[in-house]
Symmetry: C2
Subunit: 419 residues, 2 copies
Amino acid sequence: MKRPAIAADKRTKAGGSPRGTEYMDWHASLWPVAGSPDRISGIELNQICDIADLAREDPDVIKLWIGEGDLPTPDFIREAAVASLAAGQTRYTYSHGVPALRQALDRYHRRHWKVDVGADRFSVTAGGVQAIMQAFQAVLSPGDEVIVPVPAWPNLVEIVRILGGKVVPVNYRTAEQGGFRLDLDDLFAAVTPRTRVIAINSPSNPTGWIMPREQMRQVLDFARSRGIWIVSDEVYAHFTYDGTIAPSFLELAAPTDRLIVTNTFSKNWCMTGWRIGWLIYPQGMSTIFDNLSQYNTTSVATFIQHAAVAALDQGDDFIKALVARSAKGRAIICSALDSLPNVRVFWPEGTFYFFFSVHGMNSAYDVARRILREASVGVAPGSAFGQGGEAYLRVCFAVDPELIQEGANRLVDFLRKVD
Amino acid sequence: MKRPAIAADKRTKAGGSPRGTEYMDWHASLWPVAGSPDRISGIELNQICDIADLAREDPDVIKLWIGEGDLPTPDFIREAAVASLAAGQTRYTYSHGVPALRQALDRYHRRHWKVDVGADRFSVTAGGVQAIMQAFQAVLSPGDEVIVPVPAWPNLVEIVRILGGKVVPVNYRTAEQGGFRLDLDDLFAAVTPRTRVIAINSPSNPTGWIMPREQMRQVLDFARSRGIWIVSDEVYAHFTYDGTIAPSFLELAAPTDRLIVTNTFSKNWCMTGWRIGWLIYPQGMSTIFDNLSQYNTTSVATFIQHAAVAALDQGDDFIKALVARSAKGRAIICSALDSLPNVRVFWPEGTFYFFFSVHGMNSAYDVARRILREASVGVAPGSAFGQGGEAYLRVCFAVDPELIQEGANRLVDFLRKVD
């Protein structure tokens, strides 16, 4: 939903000088909205939230719209938070993360990717989204261009806009058999002298695509040669279905490369409501990210950081079980819809999203609302993910297999009718 | 500490084309830091954190440097968080605050200021600092000017810089008897056609000044006539020493005025480590602030929001006791230093800070470090608060009266010697 930007013009015309009663009357009705710059007042309403708000509390709806599983946070993590609260760890702490957590993050990266980052290159943030916000604050100037393969997570795109940057979308390609892929010629052709960042999200929300290691190497080489930054959002790395962890730019990059990797506790440990994530920055930028933590949120809550240490140090088995459960959900929903003639199905390589297109669907937003109304299933419209998403719907399959089976049944019934 | 900005130039010169080995060698040593825009890499290191980091864990130091009391969060608030965690409230929630919290905030404002804001004008943020970040994101464009009475809380100033705005400082005046005051002629004279915001912090950190209601009215009238925003940071409103709550712009403004009020749970309820605050925006801007919450932090942790409801609904007596304790600390430190011939003492009208100047002191930063080393007292250097603060030191007196007495004794001993 765009808001009118009438008043910005009027204000410019009027300049900085005092004005009379007529102006004051006009002010009363239009000022507030008009008071925001166009890039802010023009932010699209988040279509996922918009549809979810229609039936957030309705128990009859099977909710597959939002990017989170249906499990509460494991007990051992909640207990660590309770213990920290009981110990009175409720006061200010280190801006970019308590030492114990930064060390645990370092161990976690050694264990899973065999990379030696060093605790001093981690910054703890209020979720993955705040990691992205700080990453772009650190490197972007107004007018800079950011290349984003699309469809993409809307938050990534809007953060760039909020900071006055320009998003340059590059469409994933699709092949009937091969699913989504990124053509690097497309990516590199989008580069201009104003390109400041290439933003990669692999495994990709919403498409489920995983960037091959060889492509990562080529992107890194290219970015090095042009002085371009890479912001790599790697939050779904564990959610793959071939038994390996997804490749990370960290495996290829030097500590001084212009690379910022963002991540979150939300997905691996069912901590979406905790708002804690992290980023990894190049050597030599610790003062910058210490400052950015201070001036964005001061820190993440002290007792949440201590709970996060428990998640990292004791949570590997939980991740394994969660991914196995997610694999069941993937098999159920993908095979169910694969049987329909009007649905194009690519089995996602990674993430816990199934992104499918329905033949003849004009408005994903309208269809998502119809599915909610007529089939009591909550799905996210592909249009929420921008250019190239209009013909798609996204469901999250990181839920109870019985629930996803019932959701699949309802979707199949609905989609049969619209055939 | 400024970082060199050499590479920004080199990058511009080299343009967008690939470069050879020589460039790559240079890159390895300079790239990361060079990769940030000057306004980011040039952010001053936070001098308060810098000194605090020297002795954060030293039990012999009396720590009066940071803006927080010495009490843990009250049990009833911690228990509410534990109950929410136990109930599994660990998943995503409404971006700009759970309805129960926004309603509790509305009741709180009715109770304390007799204002009728309405729950739909509140947005819950990751602390007061994130409230300020979102406020400026909502209204500022790069190059816009923000007028800030100084000395001021460094975070306010740095947030404006991070967003590409320009801080226009206006010095408080001082009178030997009258303490700090703001001359509105000074304030209004700083306005230019590029002025976008007047930022007021009353009660003021670090000066302890409180803006009189009549001045608020004049600033509001002036801002209305020019289409200028007011961002009013009112986090210390309860910390006054004449028995009344500090005036709020909310008491004077219409719901459509260009006013954003920011606040925090940190100070009133000893929740500095929880990272939760709020802002109040004009009618008609709820989509903008819903989006900004989504794209900055998605939300504040669900169980922290439920704890905050307990703080608001059951915490009035705690605030009263905390302010009474703070009044004792104020009397102890101010009267102790009042006896010294080389110290100029203004008893603060509000906040829990005592901001005093020492005759002949050249560098507040050096003196603060000397006081830490020689007297084992942690104080904040006035230079941390920018222009006009260089001759001052700040201590926080919201601590145990016995502790502040011991701190006062040590300070008096030290300051006698430097006389």
